[in-house]
Amino acid sequence: MSNNPTKTKKALTAAVVLLTLSLILNIVLLILLIGYKPEGGTTYQPGSIGFDPDASDKRPGTVTQMQNVTVAGFSKLTIPPDTDTVAIDLYNPEENFGLYYMTFELRLLTDDGGYETLYTSGLVGAGKHIYQITLSHALAAGEYSAVLFIQPYRMADMSTTNNVAGNITLIVK
């Protein structure tokens, strides 16, 4: 009968159409899979050939600056003889609020080029004053060369910064 060749043709046509549709579907699925971007991920699939979109030129470095620190001192200090209690004004300026603590050390210069520590403070916050100190020992009447050494500390991590040494004449009378 003449229907057999037609049926065969129809079957073949249907098969071709189905195969074509299947191929198209696979291609579409493949494209969709390649284009799929998991959360936090990239479109680049590791191991496949292609340029990583996250690659960029080397970043230039940037200088990181600490904010300036303000330090206060004086050039002359008069103290009474034969007593280790001294009136003074050591302070951390208010400009350092929120940025720097500081410590103070009073150093008596010695003839050998070194020094003897007369007093060391604890940390002093910005805006705070120390009005009286106790020396390691009293001094006899006379004039002495000394240094007020001021060391700031970053509040953020308690690291030390550049520091200041103020030359002082100690007048004991």
Binding site: Q65, N68, T70, F74, S75, R154, A165
Partner: protein
Amino acid sequence: MTKKMTKTALISLVAVLVLAAVCTALVFTGTASAATLSNSGESSTGVEVKYHVEGGWEVEIGAGMTLVPDEESDLNVKVTKAILENGKNLSITVHSTNNYALQNGDDSLAYTLTKDGTPFVNTSKETVLSGINGKSNLTEDADVTLKVKVEKSVTDKAKYSGDYTDTLTFTVTVAQ
């Protein structure tokens, strides 16, 4: 006897008159003085009146920085307050703990600290600012910007990871 009595009486009378005259003179002088005092209002009593100005200084310095090779960084030093004795001036010098080298254990990286293009060396304390006094009113003369730089050719030779550091000490001196 009468002559003796008369003589005695006369001598007594003269003595009294002399005494009276002296007393009168004294009183008169005192009265005159009193009159002078009351008229002129002078006083020898003195009272010392004074006000004391406390001396001192404040300086602002660069606390620190993280360098980038071949890039110059600013380090500012400024006198913000200087109340000094008459005739005195304030100066600031700088000294490096590690002779201008960034240190990490036994490894070091040399860097430069310069003022107006001239690098500081640690053979002596280098002058950053000088001649600052109260009369200057802390103008631009009391403010200087130093430059800090480390070369890439130096940092490329670093042996270790981690921080390479140095500390600068600024010394403030007030003198004639």
